[in-house]
Amino acid sequence: MGSEIIFYLLSALSIFSALVVVFSKNPIYSVLSLIVCFFSIAGHYVMLNAQFLAIVHIIVYAGAIMVLLLFTVMLLNLNKESEPHKSNLIKVAAIVTGGLLMLTLLASLRTSQLPVYVSPTDLGLGTVQTVGKSLFTDYLLPFEISSILFISAMIGAVVLAKKER
């Protein structure tokens, strides 16, 4: 019973904050509610016994990506309600399209024959120890390649954002 209540609270929080991200006029509020959404998703990870991913999620998203986003929003001076007016037709079309996508996905979930799982198995699965062991034995090559990806992304970001003279 308790975990269901926590699930409902976290789900309501994440859906509400995701809606605020989309519909708030001020980009700063969008970024801040995105942080709330990411924290609630990290709470879901903890509920799913994926502790390692919960910590990594908080560090990467709330620590790195949010700082980047907030920094950019403030650097570009977008922290005001400066969105240009656009026609209502596009807004209605976007909402209808998103709603139809959700309806289609949910309807296909109802009719599809998915494997039914009742409760999480093997509770020691998502600890730092097991995930780290798997990362450094079975997935060693992708792990190292991702560090090359990071280096190229870092150099690329510096080169792109540098002022031309």
Binding site: A93, G98, L160
Partner: protein, 112 residues
């Protein structure tokens, strides 16, 4: 760590279908945001939201089926998402320097 595992063991857990529904809703909100907004930074944030919905689904399947590989895959998705945001924001800053706007309707002059 041991205590959290113990606590989670004692609680009856939620059916996995609820996580399916939740991540579907989050993904649809992300798609709606990409179509709805005109600010390129917010569009990037909505892409992040969609990535996170997929991550949540992967973690739930991994945890419910007792297979670790979903969580490792989520780790790599996070890596790619972080790199994507860094490069995307650098692109946005350099675009802003040239046309003083992040409105994607203004950016449509990039087509040819």
């Amino acid at each position: 760590m041991q205590e959290t595992i113990q606590v989670a063991q004692n609680l009856p857990s939620t059916p996995q279908t609820w996580y399916l529904i939740l991540s579907t809703i989050l993904f649809s909100i992300g798609v709606m945001g990409v179509l709805f907004r005109r600010n390129a930074i917010i569009i990037l944030m909505c892409v992040e939201l969609m990535l996170n919905a997929v991550n949540l689904l992967l973690v739930s399947y991994s945890s419910y089926s007792g297979n670790l590989e979903g969580q490792v895959f989520v780790f790599f998705v996070m890596v790619v998402a972080a790199a994507e945001v860094a490069v995307g924001l650098a692109l946005l800053v350099s675009i802003y320097r040239n046309i003083a706007s992040t409105d994607i309707d203004v950016l449509s002059r990039m087509k040819w």
